[in-house]
């Protein structure tokens, strides 16, 4: 780059009219030997380039990855998590239902077992039971007969009243 071109380019730079390519050209130029008058300007451009060497420490990536992996999962993952929770709830309910049913079955067996092996004995027992019912029934019938007394009495009274009414007419 000759001095005229350099001067023009620098003027453009100070008035913010240079393109990125032209600015790179200036940076490239000032990397080399420069006239004494431009020493300070060269420092500025070297400074810009030197700043690019500043980097974060090596362990940065690993630290970030560690943090983002342990962070709560995103939306799609949390949806699966919720589904899994619902499924787990259903499993618990179904399992509990099954065990309760089993317990109920054990506590109240549905099958009737034979109580007697000898038919004669069974017949006697049946007869005894039927006699007991019969006796109780008769006893109750006798007692119920007393209620009839009331009915008859009520009918009599009603009959009288009807008679009275007829007389009144």
């Amino acid at each position: 780059m000759d001095s005229l071109e350099l001067t023009n380019l620098l003027e453009k730079y100070w008035s913010c009219e240079t393109s990125l390519e032209e600015e790179q050209k200036l940076k490239d130029y000032f990397r080399g030997e420069v006239p004494e008058a431009l020493k300070e300007t060269a420092e500025l451009f070297r400074y810009f380039e030197q700043q690019q060497n500043m980097t974060v420490k090596q362990s940065f990536d690993a630290e970030v990855k560690k943090k983002i992996v342990t962070k709560p999962a995103g939306r799609s993952a949390s949806m699966y998590f919720n589904l899994a929770r619902i499924a787990a709830g259903l499993v618990v309910v179904v399992a509990a239902g099954y065990f309760v049913r089993e317990e109920v079955r054990k506590a109240y067996p549905t099958q009737n077992e034979d109580t007697f092996s000898d038919p004669k004995l069974a017949l006697e027992e049946t007869k005894k039971a039927l006699m007991m019912i019969s006796n109780s029934f008769n006893k109750a019938h006798k007692e119920a007969g007393k209620i009839n007394l009331f009915n008859e009495a009520e009918e009599k009274i009603q009959g009288k009243r009807v008679g009275e009414k007829k007389v009144n007419i």
């Binding site: 730079y13 100070w14 008035s15 913010c16 990125l20 600015e23 790179q24 008058a37 020493k39 300070e40 300007t41 420092e43 500025l44 070297r46 400074y47 810009f48 030197q50 700043q51 690019q52 500043m54 980097t55 974060v56 420490k57 940065f60 990536d61 630290e63 970030v64 990855k65 943090k67 983002i68 962070k71 995103g74 939306r75």
Partner: protein
């Protein structure tokens, strides 16, 4: 966005984000924290960010906002009056950071740090990182004329001081 595209599109921007955050905050440690926050923010919002065309500019924008938030909360916390002048930000550099810059570079660094926030950011984005004006508009959330005005002022402030340094040999 899955972890693979995160590694390919977002993680590689880390150094640019770091330099930008450092330019604003003046502390490597804080800049690193901010970049880490940006990464986590992008990852957590990855579903919404699928449509973003220029992921790098987007990350830079988040970096700028998080850095400014940090600066603001720092200013709120400190009871000291805000100092002005050249050396203020230089003091925030650790001795290790200071040795990284040689004397000349330190001088330029002082010129840059003395610039107002917006001018400094725009100049950094253009001259250090080589972003186009459109990208700078996107990152800074400014229109083209504001970007150009800020860059113009920044470059000329630096130029003026360089000339003075040259003329009087002040350093």
């Amino acid at each position: 966005m899955n972890i693979e595209s995160f590694e390919n599109r977002v993680l590689p921007t880390k150094n640019k984000l770091f330099r930008f955050a450092f330019r604003l905050l003046g502390s490597q440690e804080e800049a690193r924290d901010v970049v880490q926050d940006v990464m986590i923010k992008v990852w957590n919002g990855r579903e919404q960010m699928a449509s973003i065309e220029n992921m790098e500019a987007w990350c830079m924008r988040i970096t700028k906002n998080l850095s400014l938030d940090r600066l603001r909360s720092k200013q709120r916390k400190s009871t000291d009056p805000i100092e002005e002048g050249f050396e203020v930000r230089q003091e925030t550099l650790t001795p290790y950071e200071r040795t990284e810059l040689n004397e000349n570079m330190q001088r330029i660094n002082q010129l840059m740090t003395a610039l107002p926030d917006k001018q400094r950011q725009v100049m950094h984005l253009r001259d250090v990182e080589g972003y186009s004006y459109n990208e700078i508009c996107e990152i800074m959330e400014l229109d083209m004329s504001q970007v150009k005005v800020n860059l113009f002022r920044a470059r000329n402030a630096v130029r003026e001081r360089l000339v003075k340094l040259n003329a009087y040999g002040l350093s």
